[in-house]
Symmetry: C2
Subunit: 417 residues, 2 copies
């Protein structure tokens, strides 16, 4: 075992700061995740630097290579944050019944598709106009398409709106959206590399669709029919532990076939929702959720590199991209919501706004293969964070008084308006 004291100190600071900021934001009536992300910006290596600097012990493990030690520390944070977002999406899945999702399937697909077309077109246009290459423009635009449903899901959960129709459309659209966005990312990455392999891309697409359909249709039925066998296992709390195994397994499988791991976690949760009542999985998973999820949000915050925006041009591009990222989703969601009330359309559009970790993944892949510059990387990070910070208060505002209406509408005595 390596000496991990330094890392442990950082984890303590991250967790304590996240929870303290969450408490503070609750007291000023703001969503706690905004506090968690902002405190991450504050304590991160690009501001106060309370976390993210490897200590001498860690540097020594890499033979004195400070850069490698720093990268290792980043990976540790990303793995713990990754486990956090996995359990978060698992939890969202647990609260999603397949039949509810299918009910809004057509609408969700439309929201997903239009919510990709508009931001991509707008983002590509803006970056291309500033004189950057096609491939760099395409990467920034790709980072703008995928919704980070984690943020929205947490806000919806916090305000008790997770079971509303809009929430189901958002979650369903995010699934469609993520799959399409990651296919797009695969295409753009393929364009950025030496050879473009259409066959491989087609196979990835096929695997992705097969995975989702299999998990959603076969998985849910298997769990529904056979999960009672879990009671026969001798390991303590076997159903909960098997759920965690399925969650990790499907997340890893999703990553393995080129999708975001969180899609697998969401599908695992949706499958196990069929056994939720029998085993009280939600209650059992809650402490793991509460221990790990804050790391995701605070770590997102630590990624913000404020200094890149001393350059006025970069700042202007960042603001422009952020505005287009918001407008793109609102227009896409709005057009797809024809026939719903204006408020519902606004909720759906706003719910799709946060880019969070999905934008960051796209940015890091782009910078990893050398397709986007440091400046554009900073812009994408800014857009991911800004859209993430903007959406929660807007959602809370849009949902004001909503629950009462929803309840009243469900009363059979009142006619459907």
């Amino acid at each position: 075992m390596e000496d991990i004291t330094g890392i442990l100190v950082d984890l303590f600071v991250l967790f304590a700061a996240a929870k303290a900021a969450g408490e503070l934001f609750l007291r000023i009536r703001q969503p706690p995740i905004v506090g968690e992300v902002l405190v991450g910006v504050l304590i991160g290596p690009h501001a106060l630097g309370l976390v993210g600097s490897p200590d001498s012990t860690l540097i020594q493990l890499f033979g004195g290579d400070e850069e490698a030690a720093k990268e290792a520390l980043t990976i540790v944070f990303d793995v713990i944050a990754g486990l956090g977002v996995i359990i978060l999406l698992f939890f969202v899945g647990l609260e999603t019944r397949l039949r509810d999702l299918l009910e809004v399937g057509r609408r969700a697909s439309l929201v997903g598709v239009l919510g990709i077309v508009f931001p991509f077109a707008l983002g590509f246009g803006l970056i291309w106009v500033t004189g950057r290459s096609n491939i760099e423009s395409a990467f920034v635009a790709t980072a703008m398409v995928a919704t980070s449903v984690g943020i929205t899901a947490r806000v919806l959960g916090d305000i008790g709106a997770i079971r509303t129709r809009e929430a189901r459309i958002i979650l369903g659209a995010a699934v469609v959206d993520d799959i399409l966005a990651l296919l797009l990312l695969a295409v753009v990455s393929g364009m950025g590399e030496e050879q473009f392999d259409g066959l491989e891309l087609g196979l990835t697409a096929l695997a992705a669709v097969a995975f989702v359909v299999f998990a959603a249709l076969v998985g849910t039925r298997v769990i529904k029919r056979y999960s009672f066998h879990l009671e026969r296992l001798q390991v303590r709390n076997a159903p909960f532990l098997v759920s965690m195994i399925v969650m990790l397994g499907l997340s890893a499988l999703a990553g393995f076939i080129g999708l975001a791991a969180i899609i697998g976690a969401f599908l695992a949760g949706m499958m196990l929702a069929e056994a939720e009542e029998r085993f009280d999985l939600e209650k059992q998973a809650l402490p793991v959720y509460e221990f790990l999820v804050p790391f995701f949000f605070v770590v997102i915050g630590t990624k913000v590199q404020l200094s890149a925006f001393k350059d006025a041009d970069i700042l202007a591009i960042a603001l422009g991209i952020t505005a287009l990222a918001i407008v793109g989703k609102l227009v896409g969601g709005g057009l797809a919501s024809a026939g719903m009330t204006a408020r519902s359309a606004a909720i759906v559009g706003t719910g799709m706004v946060p880019r969070g970790e999905v934008g960051l993944v796209a940015a890091s892949i782009g910078s990893g293969i050398g397709a986007i510059s440091g400046d554009m990387f900073a812009v994408v990070v800014f857009m991911s964070i800004a859209t993430t910070l903007v959406a929660p208060p807007a959602l809370v505002w849009l949902y004001r008084g909503y629950r009462y209406e929803a309840e009243r509408r469900e009363e059979p005595a009142l006619p459907e308006l």
Copy 2:
């Protein structure tokens, strides 16, 4: 966010294998942790290699440096295993009331001290006789002194014996034992370095004692008197989350002042035991325990390097050191248990046998400063694993029928025998 798919696959394999092996071992009536450690040996990089090999994405993050990527992967596993052993010791602390511990304090101190003197003397002698240097002999001997109470605590928990008098002596002795062992490690490390600073060593010792006394005496009272304020916080499940903050904080603090992090976790648990009933902390911490603790045991298993033992001399030394490590604790525990029944003395001695992670920490520090060779490192790892594997079945065997006796003895109608 880095692409952590490869790491996620490894974490899934580790967790699923640990739980499957645990289930199997329960079915053949063995303690599940033995299965968890052995399956770690099996799937680890030194046997099947199903985990622990960085994928190309991870290697790319270190600019193609495979060794650095491997080290980073090791650190990720060690951090998650480290969180596992921290929550494990926190849990043990939660089940330990200070008054119970003080009740067995004198006996526990004696067990702790004698359980250090005997293994150290025996181990130093054996390595020194094979012609190795004083400092190398001292390092191997130091790795033999500290009990890894985690293993014992889990076994005691599994068989429902955690509240027996022997268990309290073992846990108390392990605290004494860890503090003394880590001071010893500080001395030996000091000897191995260029300059020996007696003052610094004295300060470490003082800080250690102050930390334990402060946490045990002041901490428990503060929690007892003021913990009801936690109910005023607005964050959901605030008492549980504050417990996690205290646990991480004291673990980091313990590491910071040169003690093992798990000592801090244990003390945090012991302090919060005073608020356990009010907030039902044990029940809330259980899912986090069940999700993280298996990683500790399976990761320990992956560290075993079987190939070093093709050399017959090394194998002989490893077996000899293991035998002396066991005999040393049994004799030390036995002598310190004068006046108790033979079975109780055997339980106490056996409970002190597992070295687990503490031996491995000592070995890695020794190898880190170049004081011990690769061969002796392998020997220490072998001893740590072997003592860890031997103790649980022995404890289960020694405790057979014990609970029945203990219950009968507590019945007021029966005379004390």
